[in-house]
């Protein structure tokens, strides 16, 4: 492109795509709104593939033979800057053109990333490599392979930092639901793309959330990915209005907004969508029915997707409660108006107003869900802790809860039997994490931290480049020749012992070596040994709430890992390097308020027993062991069991086989 611009650079690139997936374009009642135009940020340096700042789409299909008879071909990479394509807002949606497939994954993935960044208040960084120098460990782009597998499956591969999408021949249970034996491409489903990208984003935010240490962890990953995909439906005005018209504004009736992966669901032999947050299809009676919340499910359902659905349903339920309250007045007005108007469809103005409220509420709920991630413990997450995080994050950003968002969440979780452990009553006050109580000993440490983090914040100001953010942050953690890093700063504080342990949840007393924790390399000769720990997720966060309140924070996590080998008698010994040991972790997430210069929260999950810091938290350890080592308890599929993909082994692909249907 020429250097001289007479017109300002466009802010958005418009790309056509499916709102849901190709199957809805074939149905009269949905075809009108299924083709939408995605507006994604204008990337000046987008090259064919497309390859941009965040994503690199490589359309390599390993399942097709090339002209030499070897497996693997490249489909032509789309050039979204081609003037013909630009002029038409992208290629026309089509399932027979792989270039459109590339455009579709790019558009939906970018949209998801941007939604995330907005709610999170910072830039997305993908999971780093575990090898190489700081510079080498940076992963600039997520890889996307739109045609990677020949099966009804798509997954995020943490090892490859890539999304792999499959395609397959359909096998519907009834002919009228789907054309039998036709190709189905998972990379053409908005929901599947958004879901998988969310897995990747979440893994970049916290690597430990794909480590299944209790039944909630993988389920949380799944639920979170579903929540993002679902609420993204509400950002498409055409879709939203059509569904409001259809349900006459009652979004708890059957509608597309609450359903995921329509085509996929029917192509693998189901009735309708793969998942539905509010209802299900009764196969006997052949009707859609609403789900009634069941408090026993959380106790009994272990399989990650199904367990995740409980959390998705809770969040969607909270959304519906809030939405209903917000549109109650509009409905009353409409009811009055109806008297003079004939029965039937809603007035278009009312549809618009309802859609606006629904979209706004959905945006709020999604932001709340995303922001809460920062307020979760860094390891071993449970749904209950997530609820506490939601409440705490929202209290920080919104002073007065006029629309009762928080109550709606609490109620929805309660109805599904999801209660956080260790709180006495279920109220906003008790759920909200209490602010850090700083006593004489820890005051010194907090002061040191404050100085350090302020310095970090100053240096991080006005750094738009993700790579700079990554490298500078890593240097701040590990330190370099000119500067002592956060890790060492923390290490220096270990002398305060008991208080340090209470604040961080990591074990610093002499017992640590019994549990396979290594002594730190910082230890000077004259000192007694102190343990290693890891600092992760250091980031500056700046958010603006719905009421305009600004929050400026720095967050980081500290994690310690015990390496344990289970013994036959149910106890553990320290694991050796080359063994298939179990990792038991503890630690805390810190939130530091830049405006008040205070350490605000320390959200802990101690590695030690709260009553005796020289022992591990044996209750939690036992739970984790039972979960990870007993295939009959942890909801592993027969496939996982047969191929020995235990919850504690490291295939580095927790989602690959999980997503099999």
């Amino acid at each position: 492109m020429s250097k001289q611009h007479y017109t300002p650079k466009p802010l958005k690139r418009k790309l056509r795509g499916y709102a849901f997936d190709p199957s809805l374009s074939l149905k009269i009642e949905t075809s009108d709104f299924n083709e939408v135009t995605y507006r994604v940020p204008w990337e000046e340096d987008l090259t064919p593939g497309p390859k941009g700042e965040y994503l690199e789409i490589i359309d390599f299909d390993p399942t097709i033979k090339n002209s030499e008879g070897e497996y693997g071909v490249f489909y032509k990479g789309v050039d979204l800057n081609d003037p013909y394509i630009l002029a038409e807002d992208g290629l026309t949606p089509s399932d027979s053109n792989p270039q459109f497939h590339q455009q579709m994954v790019y558009a939906v993935a970018m949209k998801t990333i941007k939604n995330f960044e907005k709610a999170l208040g910072r830039k997305i960084i993908w999971r780093e490599k575990a090898w190489g120098s700081i510079r080498e460990s940076y992963v600039e782009r997520l890889r996307i392979y739109p045609h990677a597998l020949r099966e009804p499956n798509a997954f995020y591969s943490p090892a490859k930092r890539a999304l792999l999408f499959g395609y397959f021949r359909s096998s519907p249970s009834e002919k009228q639901l789907h054309m039998p034996n036709s190709w189905v491409f998972t990379c053409l489903s908005h929901d599947i793309i958004a879901h998988e990208v969310t897995h990747a984003i979440l893994d970049g935010l916290n690597v430990y959330y794909n480590e299944p240490t209790n039944p909630d962890v993988l389920a949380f990953h799944e639920a979170f990915a579903d929540i993002v995909a679902l609420f993204q439906h509400f950002t498409m005005p055409e879709v939203l209005k059509s569904q409001i018209e259809r349900t006459k504004g009652n979004l708890e009736d059957q509608n597309l907004l609450g359903q995921l992966a329509q085509e996929f669901g029917s192509a693998v032999g189901g009735y309708g969508s793969l998942r539905d947050a509010i209802g299900y299809f009764d196969k006997e009676e052949k009707v859609w029915k609403r789900i009634t919340p069941d408090t026993s499910e959380y106790e009994t359902v272990i399989e990650p997707h199904k367990r995740g659905s409980i959390l998705v349903a809770a969040v969607f339920d909270a959304f519906l409660t809030i939405y209903k309250a917000r549109v109650a007045d509009l409905k009353r007005i409409a009811a009055d108006y109806k008297g003079t108007h004939e029965e039937g469809d809603l007035h278009p103005d009312l549809v618009n107003r309802l859609a606006k409220e629904a979209s706004k509420t959905a945006g709020h709920v999604l932001s709340i869900c995303i922001r809460a991630i920062d307020y979760c413990p860094p390891i071993d997450i449970t749904f209950g802790e997530y609820l506490r995080a939601i409440i705490t994050a929202d209290c920080d950003l919104v002073d007065e809860d006029k629309n009762h968002y928080r109550l709606a969440f609490i109620d929805a979780f309660k109805r599904r039997g999801i209660y956080p452990k260790g709180i006495k009553t279920l109220s906003v006050e008790s759920l909200r994490y209490s602010e850090v109580d700083i006593n004489g000993n820890s005051a010194e440490m907090v002061k040191t931290l404050t100085r350090f983090l302020k310095d970090y914040s100053r240096i991080m100001k006005f750094r738009p480049k993700r790579k700079d953010i990554f490298i500078l942050t890593k240097v701040h953690i590990s330190g370099d020749s000119s500067k002592v890093g956060l890790h060492e700063k923390m290490y220096e504080q270990i002398t305060m012992n008991e208080d340090f342990e209470l604040l961080t949840g990591i074990m610093t007393n002499d017992s640590f070596q019994k549990f396979g924790m290594n002594p730190s390399s910082y230890t000077k000769e004259e000192e007694s040994e102190k343990p290693t720990f890891r600092i992760t997720n250091l980031r500056e966060v700046s958010r603006i709430g719905p009421t305009g309140k600004k929050v400026n924070q720095i967050k980081f996590s500290i994690v310690q890992t015990a390496r344990l080998m289970p013994k036959a008698d149910g106890t553990f010994r320290a694991g050796k390097v080359d063994e298939e040991y179990m990792r038991f972790r503890g630690g805390a997430s810190f939130i530091f308020d830049l405006d008040t210069e205070e350490l605000k929260y320390s959200i802990r999950k101690p590695i030690f027993d709260p009553k005796d810091h020289s022992r591990l938290d044996e209750k939690r350890l036992k739970r984790q062991y039972n979960y990870q080592y007993d295939p009959e308890m942890n909801g592993m599929s027969e496939l996982e069991r047969y191929f020995d993909l235990n919850r504690h082994t490291e295939l580095q692909e927790p989602f690959a086989l999980l997503h099999n249907h």
């Binding site: 090259t47 064919p48 593939g49 390859k51 690199e56 359309d59 390599f60 390993p62 399942t63 097709i64 033979k65 090339n66 002209s67 497996y71 693997g72 490249f74 489909y75 032509k76 990479g77 575990a130 090898w131 890889r143 392979y145 045609h147 990677a148 597998l149 020949r150 099966e151 490859k160 930092r161 890539a162 792999l164 395609y167 397959f168 359909s170 096998s171 249970s173 009834e174 009228q176 034996n181 192509a267 693998v268 052949k286 036959a568 298939e580 295939p631 009959e632 027969e638 496939l639 069991r641 047969y642 191929f643 020995d644 993909l645 490291e650 295939l651 580095q652 690959a656 099999n660 249907h661």
Partner: protein, 504 residues
């Protein structure tokens, strides 16, 4: 003059994990059996030399003739013996009647159609497995998966998957030939069908009852499986709008993998060839040159050695894992299932092959001509209630015995069970699902220890592997009354374990 059958001696041959049974039916005071039924002759793996003594023993025991030979289903652990000792069986064993499940009746067009489709899946599995296995030995495979501090584990885990896959593939189908050609179905099955001398062939129709068989007076054989379900599916296919029961266990035929090996030709590729790009060394036009540039750039990024860990060349072959398991389950569910009843006493012996849950469920949906003995209960339930001998399906796996629709209904106080599991001869990956501890416990309880395992060595009843199965069996047997202990007589020699069911 034929007498009423009142007992059945059951020999379980002990080559290793796999089924091979000889049932000898006798009347009171008979020296020789009136009817000999052989069920399967397989083991997961065995050499010809090791198999031969067993084959000769079977021939000796049967005096070279069986009244019927039943093959429950085409899996190596049920037919390998015939392949390994083809010569011996061909020359020395006569079969009066060969019994096969109706799903082997290829003169039925529907069966044929389905078998072709099933065959394609097997072929795809064999090819994918073979290809994956070759790749695991390549440098690129290691470069992709053995990366980073814990790469070796990930790499080894993948090699493990490939090995497990090979085991499952070999259970279902012959491995690929040295020349990369697909050989086809199991040879042992071919030997049974084509080589062993027989007088008649009988296809067992599910839902029917074999009565008045010569030599089997006082015996009725109920055919409980394989399920008819998939046939119903096929029958209904032509009629639009008509619905049928969706049977997940059996609906594995298509969508669960769409490996290219299943396709007949490349016409069925998802996209037109024009979309595939490669380097055009004759590029002259500006367009062609820019196309080359794009192609080179993308390819370079993909093949850069430092990016090898991101390559996806082989991940698609892992789809075969899912396919292999579904095929195996599918075939298990196609097992012939026999409930053999002593008419006078009502006692039942259950031989379900390797039937898994889907099959067990279908038994309860069979439209029998009659009800159970009380005139009300569904006959299947009644048969299970009266079962005194149970050949445990599928080597003690979790799915091999349905709980509510199976185990819970076997309420007879004198239940004896036999299971064909042997940790000395077994695919390593099978140990992950066999035995299922809950099932093991339930069987021990239900049988009060009258539980015979092909080789109990190395089996434990608890998670921590501290309580030996043999100890637990002995303990429970010790709690039985003297009379019952005496009744439960098990002989074991180097070829088989035997137990005689008292049918009166």
């Amino acid at each position: 003059m034929a007498k009423k059958i009142t007992s059945c001696n059951i020999q379980m041959y002990t080559m290793g994990t796999g089924d091979c049974f000889l049932l000898s039916f006798k009347g009171d005071g008979d020296q020789k059996p009136q009817f000999k039924l052989m069920i399967d002759c397989g083991v997961q793996s065995i050499s010809g030399d090791n198999m031969r003594p067993y084959a000769m023993k079977i021939i000796e025991e049967t005096e070279g003739e069986v009244d019927a030979l039943l093959i429950t289903h085409e899996h190596q652990d049920h037919v390998l013996g015939f392949q390994r000792c083809k010569k011996e069986f061909k020359e020395h064993l006569k079969v009066k009647e060969l019994w096969l499940p109706w799903t082997e009746n290829e003169s039925d067009a529907l069966v044929k159609e389905w078998k072709d489709e099933f065959g394609k899946k097997k072929k795809a599995l064999a090819m994918a497995t073979d290809l994956l296995n070759k790749h695991t030995k390549s440098d690129l495979f290691e470069q992709i998966y053995n990366v980073g501090p814990r790469g070796a584990r990930s790499f080894n885990a993948r090699k493990g998957i490939s090995n497990s896959l090979m085991e499952l593939s070999n259970l279902n189908t012959e491995p690929m030939g040295a020349a990369g050609d697909y050989i086809g179905g199991l040879k042992g099955m071919e030997v049974v069908k084509n080589d062993i001398e027989r007088e008649r062939l009988r296809f067992l129709e599910t839902g029917t009852v074999l009565e008045d068989i010569e030599g089997l007076q006082n015996i009725r054989i109920y055919i409980l499986g394989p399920p008819k379900m998939w046939k119903d599916v096929k029958t209904h296919h032509g009629k639009d709008g008509e619905t049928y029961k969706h049977n997940k266990e059996l609906e594995f035929v298509r969508a669960f993998s769409s490996l290219p090996f299943e396709e007949d030709d490349s016409e069925s590729d998802p996209f037109e060839k024009v979309h595939i790009t490669q380097y055009d060394s004759d590029a002259k036009t500006k367009y062609a040159k820019s196309k080359n540039k794009t192609y080179s750039r993308i390819k370079e990024s993909y093949t850069k050695p430092e990016n090898n860990y991101r390559r996806i060349d082989f991940d698609w072959l892992m789809s075969a894992a899912n396919l292999s398991l579904r095929l195996t389950k599918g075939m298990n569910n196609l097992s012939a299932v026999l409930a053999i009843e002593f008419i006078d006493s009502g006692k039942v012996m259950l031989f379900p092959g390797d039937a898994e849950f889907g099959s067990w469920r279908s038994w309860h949906e069979i439209d029998w001509d009659e009800k159970g003995k009380d005139g009300q209960t569904h006959l299947t339930t009644d048969l299970l209630n009266r079962t005194v001998f149970y050949k445990v399906a599928h080597h003690l796996s979790h799915n091999g015995t349905a709980r509510e629709l199976g185990m819970d209904l076997m309420t007879n106080k004198d239940l004896v069970a036999m299971a064909t599991l042997d940790y000395d001869v077994i695919s390593p990956s099978w140990k992950n699902t066999m035995p299922n501890r809950a099932l093991l416990k339930e069987l021990l309880k239900k049988t009060s220890g009258r539980f015979i395992v092909l080789n109990p060595k190395g089996l434990h009843v608890d998670k921590a592997n501290t309580t030996k199965l043999t100890d637990e069996i002995d303990k429970r047997l010790g709690n039985l009354s003297q009379a019952k202990q005496k009744e439960f007589k098990v002989d074991r020699n180097e070829f088989f374990v035997q137990y005689t069911v008292n049918g009166s």
